[in-house]
Amino acid sequence: MIWDLHCHLNGVDGRTPEERMSQLLKYADRMGVDRLIVFLGMSFSRSYDPKPDDFRQQNDEVIQAISHWMDRALGFAYLNPNYLQESLDEIDRCIKNGPLVGIKLWVAARCDDEAVDTIIERVAELKGVIFQHTWYKVSGNLDGESTPEELARLAKRHPEIPLICGHTGGDWERGIRAIRDCPNVSIGTGGFDPTAGITEMAVRELGADRIIYGSDIGGRSISSQLAKITGAQVSKESQQQILGANLKKMLLPILREKGIKP
């Protein structure tokens, strides 16, 4: 069983969200991936600091994309902490009263900003999953681009709320260390090169139950990202946890709530 935590509607052919979703699923079928979690719209690079109309439209595209494949695709809502009230309203619209099952925070604001505390508390009440993009770029992060250390600070203020550290910080040797002492933080393995040793170190330092497979398709290849798990010298049980079981477990409460078959 393979569930992909990290998929997008861009970087793949198709004129409509539905066409792109069907393309993603075509490749998922070839590679044996059962479920895809999708977030961000058809062209998400319009702005790093999207206005409410912008992120609402992107969420509409995700809702449209997954609507025909509820058994294969799930979606997260994209929010911008710089528009706190609008983000809280969007949580209600998309998660409480809509089909989405979590949130994605990208590079609009650093995640130790206090608006993020309010957002994740609300999402946790709804049992939604929280995914935060993180990077450590030696060349310098974007203004609003969080590091795993900033996520660790947020995590320590909310030890009961599970958080996902997207990209493991890219520079995973630093990223794993940064969140190591936060048991409520899991790493997302998608969206960086398939550098050998990542999964071995993560299992060693975090345990297999804190690692979640994701790809970052269409910008990445399913193969390069799957290889990090299937090519790692870790046990078969660990691989199964990482490839799907951990994510499924994390999503189970909200799927039950929404009556979506896990």
């Binding site: 970087g11 793949v12 393309q23 993603l24 490749y27 070839r30 590679m31 990077w135 450590y136 770029k137 030696v138 060349s139 890219g170 520079d171 040797e173 960086f192 090169d193 398939p194 550098t195 050998a196 040793g197 071995e200 398709i217 269409g218 910008g219 990445r220 290849s221 399913i222 193969s223 390069s224 799957l226 290889a227 990090k228 299937t230 090519g231 790692a232 010298q233």
Partner: protein
């Protein structure tokens, strides 16, 4: 399968799961690789280039004769580098060289590079150029090495008909239309170790004739499975798949 992008010995900044030769050979053979073109991780920082090449040749001979095919390191900023080219071919019987212009500090529009290419062309050596070894965003803070700019090859290649160039780890920095233009300008081949994007290989052969695409893994720096799975991710059909997996590289040597 012929894997044209493998390295032996130790990456300077991290131990890798397969950075000793016996397990590396075993892993490749189990995966169906019949021949691996190998450079040395030592090549990027060592200045005793012949020491690097001598160890590489000996290791290939001892641990994988006929299977590990050594590609030597030449750094044209070093004194008497032509002797390294000569030894690569005559002494170590290498079919080509693997260049790291970014780590060695010269540009492809420099006279040094033109001289090096002239030498390799005369000797009919394959010239592999590694555009990067890792994501520039995750490099060691004190060793930040930019990608190789291969645009100058457009002007250079027509002067060296028949010169075989293999660009390794190119796709994260090299985009169309340059990738198409280079393939037209000369005998330029590409591996796909760093090719990303869903269905990437299938899309790449819309930009470059499939005859110019070679299987390369950047193993053991990358998990080998990455490139292996890419051949499955795109629906290539058997003719194209087998040409990319081995046939194209076979014709090169």
């Amino acid at each position: 399968m012929i894997d044209v992008n493998v390295s032996l010995f130790q990456w300077p900044f991290r131990r890798l799961p397969h950075d000793t030769t016996d397990p590396l050979v075993k892993k490749l053979k189990n995966a169906g690789v019949t021949q691996a073109w190998v450079g040395s991780f030592e090549a990027i920082l060592h200045e005793d280039a012949d020491g690097v090449n001598r160890r590489l040749a000996a290791e290939c001979q001892q641990k994988g004769a006929g299977f590990l095919i050594p590609f030597g390191c030449v750094n044209p900023t070093l004194p008497d580098w032509k002797e390294d080219v000569r030894r690569c071919q005559e002494k170590y019987q290498m079919p080509g060289v693997r260049l790291h212009p970014n780590y060695h500090g010269y540009a492809l529009d420099s006279e040094l590079f033109a001289d090096l290419v002239t030498e390799c062309h005369q000797r009919n050596l394959i010239v592999q150029i590694s555009l990067r070894m890792e994501d520039v965003r995750t490099q060691h803070p004190l060793v930040q090495v930019p990608d190789v700019d291969v645009k100058p090859l457009l002007e250079l290649l027509p002067k060296f008909p028949g010169l075989k160039i293999v660009l390794l780890n190119s796709q994260r920095s090299l985009r169309s239309p340059l990738v198409t233009q280079l393939a037209k300008a000369g005998d330029v081949y590409y591996d796909f170790a760093m090719l990303e994007g869903i269905g990437g290989v299938g899309k790449f052969i819309e930009d470059v004739p499939y005859q110019r695409v070679l299987f390369g893994s950047h193993f053991p720096f990358f998990y080998f499975e990455s490139s292996q799975l890419k051949l499955k991710e795109s629906d290539l059909g058997e003719t194209i798949r087998s040409a990319i997996a081995a046939g194209n590289a076979e014709k090169l040597t």
